[in-house]
Point group: C2
Amino acid sequence: MSKVTIYDISKKLNISAATVSRALNNNPKISLKTRELVMKTAEEMNYEQNTLALALKSGKSNTVGILVPYMNRSFFSSVIRGIEEELYPHGYHVIICQTRDDAKSEVQNINTLLNAQVDGIFMSVSKNTKDTGHIDRVLQKGIPLVFFDRKKNIPGVSSVTIDDFNGAYMSVEHLIKQGCKRIAHFLGDINLEIYKDRYNGYLRAMTDYNLPIDKNYIIRTNSKVESGTAAVKKLMQLPSPPDAIFSSSDFTALGAVQELKKTGIRVPDDICISGFSNESFTQYTEPTMTTVDQTPIKMGKMSARVFLEQIDEEISVTIEKKVVLSPQLVIRDSSDRLKKK
Amino acid sequence: MSKVTIYDISKKLNISAATVSRALNNNPKISLKTRELVMKTAEEMNYEQNTLALALKSGKSNTVGILVPYMNRSFFSSVIRGIEEELYPHGYHVIICQTRDDAKSEVQNINTLLNAQVDGIFMSVSKNTKDTGHIDRVLQKGIPLVFFDRKKNIPGVSSVTIDDFNGAYMSVEHLIKQGCKRIAHFLGDINLEIYKDRYNGYLRAMTDYNLPIDKNYIIRTNSKVESGTAAVKKLMQLPSPPDAIFSSSDFTALGAVQELKKTGIRVPDDICISGFSNESFTQYTEPTMTTVDQTPIKMGKMSARVFLEQIDEEISVTIEKKVVLSPQLVIRDSSDRLKKK
DNA sequence: TTGTAGGCGTTATCAA
DNA sequence: TTGATAACGCCTACAA
């Protein structure tokens, strides 16, 4: 039972607890002798600082909260990893909450995090979050909040995202350069900005290259494999089916590939496909899949840095920082026609 | 700035803070009137309990620590998810540390967790952990510790694992029933029990079915794809190459499949392959891969339950609980010869 | 350079 | 049923 407190040390040494505290904290106004003595006996007695008491006293818990839809999605777990690795050297712990992509649960989790007195909150908002009252409460309390990936546009709140627009643009541009002209798009949930941005990137690239945009080529999907197979079926029944698909999700892209192969249509020879997210399976499919890497670990590290800067500010001015990371186009076989020739 | 304390409420109501505290905690010896009054004003004033103060007072932080090698590996993040989901309703938070599969970092992380006064620790030990001094310290402090997946055999410590032996046995048995007789094995790091168990399951199944065990068929691998390609190359150069491979890892199994396909050997017609872990990519490879599901979310939930039982025990008797979950053989195309015919 | 005292927000004990 | 007080372990004015 190690319950050694500074008081125990002070008794043993016949000095005051205050002196012990100062010695332990390298307070300059303390004699070298006493400091060393204290340090030594603290060591001997196996003293360990009670962080809870410290937290209560200082109002700082040295803990940050992270809110994600599900923590076992590779993208999110990688972001969390990035945050953890950046924050660990600074003495912070990360506590993780899952919203299950549900706004109600998000609110509840925010509450418990506030209650746990976290020093900061990182979050990727849920799909169906409309109201932002819970977020406002965080801000009112002066607790640094950083959005990552899925954000809400709230003045004064920092965010770290990737340039989804550009990721999409690069993808589509790549497809065009492979010689594709009739490019379809699998559109994700437009409640989320990321999907809107990808859509817009697609539109812009098409326009920039003077390619017609066919409404029939734009199919709404969720991020499931089956959604991709269904979508591609619809596309191939069109009088003039597309010669490429830019999907906003790797899963739907995979569904499309599977379905196409089943019907004997060759990828990429007959139709080029590209996905989004660089899910780990994309490197193992056949053909391997072209996709956009979102650099999640980097995103996590960046978010952590934004947070650290925020709390370092002497004045608690709410500085809003919008970091936009560049995504990485990963070209693989599912779209690489030219290499094959 | 909501910094409403019970003291603020007490002042407003001209009663003592103690009464407020009791009312808030549904203490029976309090008049209904005052309770309701307190509740109402607490609500009005936006009172929130300071968990830090509570933690200091009670010595309970309502937080548990989880130690994993890397939190973005799908297996581990899924276990964590399971733990989180089971513990959340009980008011616990999970704080996560990464050991990077390094014993030193493991020790350090244990220290910070103890320092943060967690109420319990869940861990999957690092590959190179030999000394268990840090674990003993946890036990000495009377903090519940639960191993999951990768455990050390320490008396008094509970663990939740899957029956790796049986998972392997089922796999090999399945291969045998497909008509395979010369079954090779990709052996993992034998510092870890899980790989030893899988190896033993393999051996037993072979023996039970009177199949000869050829030393040349047992290849050491790490869990990388390339390790699998290298291993299979070695195997195929043997005078009598195997007609099946039971791999202790999905990644090495994948490497094997890739290499075999490259050399024109058909899977499963010429050689059957099975992996281990049910990594998400295994359902998308070609052929889809037979593997063993470790039910990680279930493992997390189970671990959480073991922890909850442990802290519920009135007497702090160290009861050791060894939960062994049954793995699930997932039969897919890479080994399914019979279905094809 | 060191000690004293007060407080962070709660709850538990003892009186009233 | 309620109130006063001490205590959890630490830090920090202020005083010495």
